[in-house]
Amino acid sequence: MTEFLLGAALFVLGTVALGLIRILRGPDDADRMLAAQLLGTGGVAVLLLLGVASGLGAVGDLALMLALLAAFASVAFVTGVARPDPPKPVRDPNALPRGDRS
């Protein structure tokens, strides 16, 4: 079973690594972000497989942490992209999003 799980981990790793071609090719930065995202999810799977195969319980914690932070990079990516004039702090109160606070 151990060999199978290791093999599966290797296969998943190889698969998501194949996705890294998207990082090379782009064409958009968002496409590259997708490849990194795939690596994140795949990485969680690889860690779970490795953790069970090797009996290292702490690897499960690592997988949990990666899953917890899986959306982190994309969120950062989007907030960076979404703001065209980032260095200037928003001064005008009218520039606030108009959330109708009830």
Partner: protein, 342 residues
């Protein structure tokens, strides 16, 4: 056994090649964003390498800091730069020459290091056995924590001070007029509904995981830095989603949180002069509880410092209260009165 060994070898070689290729690409690529994305992916792969080396403590740190928080920091920095700034044609030949020179030097350095590392004594001399042998006197089960909080406590203590200094350095970049205000780098104008939902659901879970990482660090991989990094990441998500505003940098309570870790570390360390005959020594029966108290305070300070490092220097105020997105308002009526406490 031999099959899993050879499989491990295949996995290791594959990982090594993948990392090298990605590293080269990340350095060579022209777009800033592309390079940062490459860096994030690189961090994930490096975390896997640490797992293969059975250094889960380091893997946790790499995943949280190297890939998670650093990714956010670099992406924000990239957002502040003009996109794919054009290199003036006149300077290009010089730049290319410089790149070639730097590349050759780095390659040379790598070759020398590789040659030298291959000649290192085998088996490698190590303090691991010694560290494990005396570990019971500290009451801990994780030798890495023993190194960090007992044997080499001074390094950890000074690193905690470095973190405070780094934050002061970042804050020093603020405009004089903005001093005392709230950090502004994580303000988003219109966080979408999905982002707000994430920021509502994830942080409580993250708090549990962060505290767990610190708490389990005494006996298993984990510790104050990893736990603090997770907590900081959760805070950052809340800030990005506009569910709370960053605290004012001149707040006394905030400052207290920032220094409580190193201060408590120092205090217990100095008390060691009396009760253990050495600065940073622990009395035999009290070692573990004292270490856990230090780690708890450090986790808090590290989380606050990392979060504030992500949040940037104080900036001019956009207006009273937090920036609330179109989707968050229903659940967020009482926010403006609560964000003072965050």
């Amino acid at each position: 056994m031999s099959m899993s060994m050879s499989l491990g070898l295949v996995a290791d070689s594959f990982l090594a090649l993948l990392i090298l290729g990605l590293a080269v690409w990340t350095i060579a690529v022209r777009g800033t964003y592309a390079a940062v994305v490459g860096f994030v992916a690189y961090g994930l792969l490096v975390a896997l390498v640490w797992v293969r080396l059975a250094a889960v403590d380091v893997a946790l740190t790499e995943a949280a800091l190297g890939s998670g928080l650093m990714g956010l920091l670099l992406l924000r920095a990239a957002a502040c730069l003009p996109r794919d700034a054009a290199v003036p044609a006149s300077g290009r030949v010089g730049r290319v020459a410089l790149r070639v020179v730097v590349g050759v030097l780095c390659a040379g350095l790598t070759a020398v290091l590789a040659a030298v590392v291959l000649q290192l004594p085998e088996p490698a001399p190590s303090l691991a056995a010694a560290a494990a042998q005396v570990l019971p006197t500290t009451g801990l089960g994780n030798p890495v924590t023993g190194v960090l909080i007992a044997y080499r406590a001074i390094d950890t203590l000074l690193e905690a001070v470095v973190l405070v200094l780094a934050l002061i350095g970042l804050w020093s970049l603020a405009a004089d007029g903005a001093w005392g205000g709230r950090p502004g780098a994580l303000r988003t104008r219109e966080p979408g509904a999905a982002l707000v939902l994430l920021a509502q659901l994830l942080p409580p879970v993250g708090i549990l995981v962060g505290i767990h990482l610190f708490w389990t660090g005494a006996n298993h991989p984990g510790g104050a830095f990893q736990g603090g990094a997770v907590l900081a990441a959760m805070w950052a998500i809340v800030l990005v989603a506009g569910l709370a505003a960053a605290p004012r940098v001149d707040g006394r309570r905030l400052r207290l949180v920032l220094v409580v870790g190193p201060a408590l570390f120092f205090a217990i360390g100095l008390a060691g002069i009396w009760w253990a005959d050495a600065f940073l020594g622990y009395p035999a029966d009290w070692a573990k509880p004292l270490i856990l108290v230090i780690e708890a305070a450090l986790t808090l300070s590290i989380a606050a410092a990392l979060g504030l490092l992500l949040a940037g220097p104080p900036a001019a105020e956009p207006g009273p209260g937090p920036v609330v997105g179109a989707a968050g308002q229903l659940s967020w009526k009482e926010q403006s009165s609560t964000d003072e406490h965050r």
